[in-house]
C-alpha cells in the first residue's frame, strides 16, 4: 500500500473502492485501460478476484444475473496478464477466477445440459452469480458495520477511578480443605504400603499440645492444675491420657515432692493436698541439660 499512488488514477488507499459500491466510481479510470503501474495499485485496492469481477460487472452496468461471459472474461484476462508480471503471488487467486470464468464460458458454448434431479436447469453461471451476490452482500455489510459508532474511534467509555485500600489477601482454608489434604495423604500412604497411619483420638493430641503450652514457662506445675474440673469427666480422662502420652514420649517429666528435693525448693509449702506428696509436672529441659 506504500507504492506511490497516482492521484489522477486512483484515490488514496484510505477510502478504497469498498465505498464505491452503488455510488459513482470517481476514483477509477474512465476507461478500462489501466497503465500497468496503476494497475498494481488498483489490484491491491481490490479485495480479490470476486471484488474485481464485481467491479467489472458494475462498471459496465451489466445485469449480474446475465453476465456476458465473453466480454467479462477477456477484460478480466487483461488484468490478470498485467498483474502476472509484477505480482505473481497476488495473481494466483485471480488466475483461479480466470480459469473459472473460462470454464463457465466454455460450458455456455456447449449444448444445454439435461435438467438436474431437482428439475432445475443447470446454468453454469449460477454458482458464480450466487458467490458474487453473497460477496456483494458482505461487502455492503462490512461498509455498514464500519459506519456504526465504534468504541475508541467514535465514542469513549466513561469511568471513574476506584482506589481501593490495599488489603493483603491471605489464603482461606476450611476444615474441608484439611480433610481433602488428609485424604490425599492417605491415598498416597496406601500406595506406599509400608507406612500405616494410625487414627488417633484428636482430643488427646490436642490436650498434649495444650499441656506443653501450659508448661512452656519452664516452671514446675502442680499436676492437679492441669485438670479443669469444670469441663467434665471426659476431658479429665483425655487430659490424663495426654499426660501419660507425653510422659511416654518423654515430652514432659512428672515428679513427686520428696523424691526430688531440688525441684521442690521454695515450692513445698504450697503443696495443696496434705494426704499425699504433691506431683509436679514440668518440661524436661533441666533433665535434658543434666543428661
Amino acid at each position: 500500500m506504500n507504492a506511490p499512488v497516482n492521484e489522477s488514477v486512483i484515490n488514496p488507499v484510505a477510502e478504497p473502492l469498498a465505498h464505491v459500491f452503488g455510488e459513482p466510481v470517481l476514483a477509477l479510470p474512465s476507461d478500462l485501460y489501466i497503465p500497468p503501474d496503476a494497475l498494481r495499485v488498483l489490484l491491491e485496492s481490490f479485495e480479490g478476484p470476486l471484488d474485481l469481477l464485481l467491479y467489472l460487472i458494475r462498471k459496465q452496468n451489466v445485469d449480474i444475473l446475465d453476465i456476458p461471459m465473453a466480454a467479462v472474461t477477456s477484460q478480466y484476462m487483461q488484468y490478470v496478464e498485467a498483474m502476472k508480471s509484477s505480482r505473481l503471488e497476488l495473481a494466483a487467486e485471480y488466475l483461479l477466477m480466470a480459469a473459472l470464468l473460462i470454464e463457465i464460458k466454455s460450458r455456455m458454448l456447449l449444448p444445454k445440459t439435461p435438467a438436474s434431479e431437482e428439475g432445475e436447469a443447470d446454468d453454469p453461471r449460477a454458482e458464480l452469480v450466487r458467490r458474487l451476490l453473497e460477496y456483494e452482500q458482505i461487502k455492503l455489510a462490512a461498509f455498514e458495520l464500519d459506519q456504526l459508532p465504534q468504541a475508541g474511534r467514535d465514542f469513549l467509555w466513561a469511568f471513574a477511578v476506584f482506589e481501593r485500600e490495599l488489603v493483603d489477601l491471605l489464603p482461606e482454608v476450611r476444615a474441608a480443605d484439611l480433610k481433602a489434604a488428609w485424604l490425599s495423604i492417605l491415598t498416597r500412604a496406601r500406595n506406599r504400603k509400608h507406612h500405616t497411619i494410625a487414627t488417633s483420638e484428636i482430643s488427646v493430641r490436642e490436650q498434649m499440645s495444650h499441656i506443653l503450652r501450659v508448661l512452656e514457662d519452664g516452671r514446675h506445675h502442680d499436676f492437679v492444675t492441669l485438670f479443669d474440673h469444670v469441663q467434665g469427666v471426659p476431658l479429665l480422662v483425655v487430659t490424663f491420657s495426654a499426660v501419660l502420652e507425653l510422659v511416654k514420649e518423654k515430652l514432659i517429666r512428672v515428679s513427686q515432692a520428696g523424691f526430688d528435693p531440688e525441684t521442690l525448693a521454695g515450692e513445698a509449702e504450697h503443696a495443696p493436698y496434705a494426704g499425699y506428696a504433691p506431683i509436679y509436672v514440668s518440661r524436661p529441659r533441666g533433665v535434658h541439660e543434666r543428661d
Binding site: D123, A142, L145, Q150, L156, A160
Partner: protein, 192 residues
C-alpha cells in the same frame, strides 16, 4: 423503600457503573448489595439514572451484557483533542472478515475465504482476536478440525449494540437471485 434508601441505591449503582471497566448486568448490580434489591427496582433505578444523565456529555447505555456509561458521540470532537492517538481504522479486508463472522457465525476461516474469494491472513484473524471482538467458540468436526469463529459481547458493546439482532440488516440476497435466476434458467431451457 424510603427516599434515602433509594437514593443510596442509586448512588451505589452509579458508582459501580462508573468504576467498572466492563458493562454490568442487573445480576451483577444486585450482587453489590448485602440485601439485594428486586430486579424490577434495579431496572427502575437504572432508567432513572439514564434520565438523570439526559442532556449531559455522558450517557448510560444498555448493551448486550449490561449497562455502561459512555461519552455521547457528539463529545468526540472535543475529547479527541486530549487523545491524539486514534485507534486504527480497519482495512476493508478486516471489516469484511468481521462482517462475515458477525453475520454468518460461527464460521471457519475456510468458509470466510470461500465467501471473500481470497485467503484470509492469520494477521486479520489475529487483529480481531486481539481487539477482543472475535473468539474461538469451538472446532468444526471436519478434517483439520478448524476453529469456529464468532463475535464476542465486547464486539457488540464496542459497536453500541444490545444484541446481534441490532446489526444493520443484510441486503436481501434471496430475492435477487432466486426468481430471476429461475426465470433465466426457464428461458434457457424451455423444455422444462
Amino acid at each position: 423503600m424510603s427516599e434515602i434508601d433509594r437514593r443510596h441505591l442509586k448512588n451505589v449503582i452509579e458508582a459501580a457503573l462508573l468504576v467498572n471497566q466492563e458493562p454490568l448486568s442487573v445480576a451483577q448490580l444486585k450482587a453489590l448489595f448485602g440485601v439485594p434489591p428486586e430486579g424490577a427496582e434495579l431496572v427502575a433505578v437504572l432508567e432513572e439514572l439514564q434520565r438523570d444523565w439526559d442532556g449531559r456529555g455522558v450517557e448510560l447505555v444498555r448493551l448486550a451484557n449490561g449497562w455502561r456509561f459512555r461519552a455521547r458521540l457528539d463529545m468526540q470532537p472535543y475529547l479527541e483533542r486530549l487523545k491524539p492517538e486514534k485507534p486504527p481504522r480497519y482495512s476493508r479486508a478486516v471489516m469484511e472478515t468481521l462482517a462475515i463472522i458477525a453475520y454468518k457465525q460461527p464460521v471457519t476461516r475456510g468458509e470466510i475465504e470461500e465467501i471473500r474469494g481470497v485467503t484470509v491472513s492469520s494477521a486479520i484473524i489475529q487483529t480481531l482476536k486481539e481487539r477482543g471482538w472475535i473468539d474461538v467458540v469451538g472446532h468444526k468436526e471436519v478434517p483439520g478440525r478448524p476453529e469456529l469463529l464468532a463475535t464476542t459481547r465486547d464486539f457488540l458493546a464496542d459497536l453500541g449494540l444490545a444484541s446481534l439482532k441490532d446489526l444493520p440488516p443484510l441486503t436481501e440476497l434471496g430475492n435477487l437471485v432466486v426468481p430471476d435466476l429461475a426465470d433465466a434458467a426457464a428461458a434457457a431451457s424451455p423444455q422444462e
